[in-house]
Amino acid sequence: MTGLFYAVAAFFLILLMAFASYVIIKGFMGASPEMFTFSRKGILNQLFNTVYLVALSLLISCPIGMAAGIYLSQYAKRGKLTSAIKMCIETLSSLPSIVVGLFGYLVFILMTGMKWNLMAGALAVSILSLPLITTTTADALNALPLPYRDGSMGLGATKWQTVHRVLMPACSPRIITGVILAAGRGFGEAAALLYTAGMSTDINWSNWNLSSPMCPLNPFRPGETLALHIWSSFTESTAVNAKDIANLSSAILMILVLVFNVCIRILSKKLDAVKKGG
């Protein structure tokens, strides 16, 4: 029996390594220099859109999610309201991303009368990452030893001062881990962006007029992300080398996943060091 378990474990390690290296190697094998440019033929515009969209979505979801997490762990009393909030968080976290995408399409695009834009995509991704940020914040605060709070309150601090000056700094590595996880999810998200962020991108890098639809930093312009770029090269590609572009996009997404993983690992090492008093 034991041998079988070893076989299964080995199988998955090999599968992961093969999968990751296949995606990365194949992506770079078919790459040509022009793909690494900020142009129609390149994918750097899409990479920029991805980073920008995730940053926007974190700007929205972090304050709200952290507030909700602090509320759940420090302020909420046992009761109907608290269990309602918990139930809503669970519901949000299990929503299929395509459903969130449809909701975003209806509310942020159709009802506002705007064209597909980055902001709508960022809002849709925020809905997806809110529950994750809320639960990690609440868990991180709950895991702190009670003397932290008692000590601070004993010195005469108010509740908010305690939360703000003592508790949040003490558990910040764990919260940052949660935020990185949320960002990682945002990077790979496609279904929620399909009908919100749009499948085209047209940026003029010399145009810095924020209200122009060609300006890179204008959040109200269509902004195709890397993940969507793979989808669009599957559905509506006209380019001859669409396959190579999709391969390269996959490879870059895969590398991003690995980098994020390393970041989280370093952070949790730091967290352990803090716990041990180092």
């Binding site: 378990f5 909030i85 809503c88 209806l106 159709l110 908010w160 993940a227 391969n247 996943v257 993983n261």
Partner: protein, 304 residues
Amino acid sequence: MTKRKMFRNEYLWKGLIMAGGLFMIIITLIIAFFLIFKGSGTFTQFGHSLAEFLFSASFSPGSSVGGESGAVGSAAFIMGSILTCGLALLISTPFSLAAAIFMTEIAPKFGNRVLQSAIEIFVGIPSIVYGWTGLTILVPAVRDLFHLPYGNTIFTAALVLALMIFPSITSVSADAIRGVPKEFHDAAYGLGATRWQMIHKVVIPAARSGIVTGVILGLARAFGEALAVAMVIGKTKAFPKSLLNSGSTLTSIIASNMGNTFDGTEYNSALWSMALLLFLISLFFIVLIHLISAKGAKKAYGKD
């Protein structure tokens, strides 16, 4: 800082934080409201029956505002979802369980260090990458293996989903197995059980509710996955006759057709009804997990 300012700050932040908590309820209610509002149009505005939507396989809704109306039977897509997710679960669960047992009971040190990290990486890989890789590797492989004219089948989609949900099931099951008290192990060994007997007769039954929760979470993830499935399943709208037919799922049909329909048409409305159905299914999974964990807690603490 004056005392007055201190208290003003205190109440201001308390209010803001509470607003954050309440926002979670508000956004959930808004989403639910819009889904119900748009999803019920098929039945109220276009007068289709619920039975037709759920059990008929003829799908030809009208695609222009005020135009002819057609049929909205979605049984083919519901069946597609059930087949792909069910098959994915069947493939994935035994492997996941084996991996979870391996990393907790058989080689905890290696398991925690290496396998756990590998699984975390697996979880983080975007679904679109699974879909694209499935399209470039699995689709041709399935085509050649079964001598089909094309490889976009329900079976291919199930394989992709199985790979995607394997890490979720494994990590939740491993947590459940780690939660089994050490005394259970000691007692089983003390009675002369071998390691496999201990795992099989003591640890797994004790961790059952956690493992089932993991399986349901995996199932929920599979049900909600849209683009990876849409890329490999073939997107036909006919009722699937076998696992080696191409088909569609609820999510894939929404993903690939929403962009071609206009707001207010019957087609659009039917797609919203499917989104509503997906929402209800995900609610159902949550309720199921709660029931199971309540039962598990009762078993663990109620009887002795």
